[in-house]
C-alpha cells in the first residue's frame, strides 16, 4: 500500500511538472500574431548532425499593460513547480527567471512600465565544444 502511494505521488508530481510552464506557453502561442508584439523564434542546430540543440522564443510588446499583467500572473502561478527561481523588482520594473529541469526549460520575463519582454527556451542537449 505504501509503495502504491509513493507511485501515485510520483505520477502526480510528474503530471504537475508536465503542466508547468503551459500557461506561459499558451500565452506565447496566443500572442504569436498580436498586433502589438514582436515574436522571434530562434532554433540552434548542431552543424554536423542537424539535431536541435535549443529553441528560444522571444516576445516583446509595448503599450499593453494588461498583457504584462497576464504574463506576470502566469509566472506567479507556476512558481511552486519551478526548480529554480529568481525575482528582482523595483518601483516600476519586475524581472523573473524561472527554471525547470528534465527537460531543461528557462523562462524569463522583464516587465518595465508598459514594455514587456518574455523569453522561453528549451534546451534539448548540451552544445558540444569539439570544433
Amino acid at each position: 500500500m505504501k509503495r502504491l502511494l509513493i507511485i501515485v505521488a510520483m505520477v502526480a508530481i510528474a503530471a504537475i511538472e508536465c503542466q508547468a510552464q503551459e500557461r506561459i506557453d499558451e500565452l506565447l502561442n496566443r500572442e504569436l500574431n498580436g498586433g502589438t508584439t514582436v515574436y522571434r523564434m530562434a532554433v540552434k542546430r548542431d552543424a554536423e548532425s542537424g539535431e536541435i540543440i535549443k529553441r528560444v522564443r522571444e516576445l516583446r510588446s509595448t503599450g499593453n499593460r494588461a498583457l504584462s499583467k497576464e504574463f506576470l500572473e502566469a509566472f506567479d502561478a507556476e512558481r511552486e513547480s519551478a526548480d529554480g527561481w529568481e525575482e528582482n523588482r523595483n518601483s516600476n520594473a519586475r524581472q523573473i527567471t524561472a527554471v525547470w529541469t528534465n527537460p531543461k526549460r528557462i523562462y524569463t520575463i522583464i516587465a518595465t512600465g508598459s514594455t514587456l519582454a518574455v523569453y522561453a527556451q528549451t534546451i534539448y542537449r548540451e552544445e558540444r565544444d569539439d570544433k
Binding site: 508536465c18 503542466q19 510552464q21 503551459e22 506557453d25 499558451e26 502561442n29 504569436l32 500574431n33 498586433g35 508584439t37 514582436v38 515574436y39 522571434r40 523564434m41 530562434a42 532554433v43 540552434k44 542546430r45 548542431d46 552543424a47 548532425s49 542537424g50 539535431e51 536541435i52 535549443k54 529553441r55 528560444v56 522564443r57 522571444e58 526548480d83 529554480g84 527561481w85 529568481e86 527567471t97 527554471v99 529541469t101 527537460p103 528557462i106 524569463t108 523569453y119 527556451q121 534546451i123 534539448y124 542537449r125
Partner: protein, 149 residues
Amino acid sequence: MKHRADIKALINKFLDGRTTLAEERELYDYFASDDLPREWHDLKAMFAWYGDGMPEDRLPKPAPQPRRSHRAKWWIATGSIAAAIALMVWLVPERSADVDIVDIYEGSYVIEGGVYCDNLDDIEDDIETLLMRADEMERHADSLLALAD
C-alpha cells in the same frame, strides 16, 4: 483518438517549434502506434527518437560499404565518386561557408506587425542576437540551480 487533421496540425506546430510539452507527448504517443497513415511512416522514427530523449547512440549511422570483389566494379565506383565530387565543386557556389552557418538556424522565424519572415538571410542578425542572450540566460539559470542545490 485525435482526428487526422488535428494530428497534422500538431505535426506542423511541432516543426515550427510551437508545441507545448503536452502536445509533444501526444505526438510521441500517437506515432508509437503501428497503425499510421502511409504518408506519415517516415515520421515514426523521428518522433520515436524525440520521445526517447534523443539518445546519441541512436543517431543514424552510415551504412557499411559492401566489399567489391571485382576490379571493374571498383574502378566504376571510384570514377563515379570522382565525377560526383567534380560536379559538386562546379555547381556549389563559393558561399558554402555561409550556407553552413545559415543552416544551423533552420526553423527560425520572426513575426513583426503580423508579418511572418523566415528568410534566414534577412533575420540572421536577429536570431544570433537572441541566441547570445539566451546563452547568457542559460548560464545565469545554471547558477540559480547550483544555488538551489
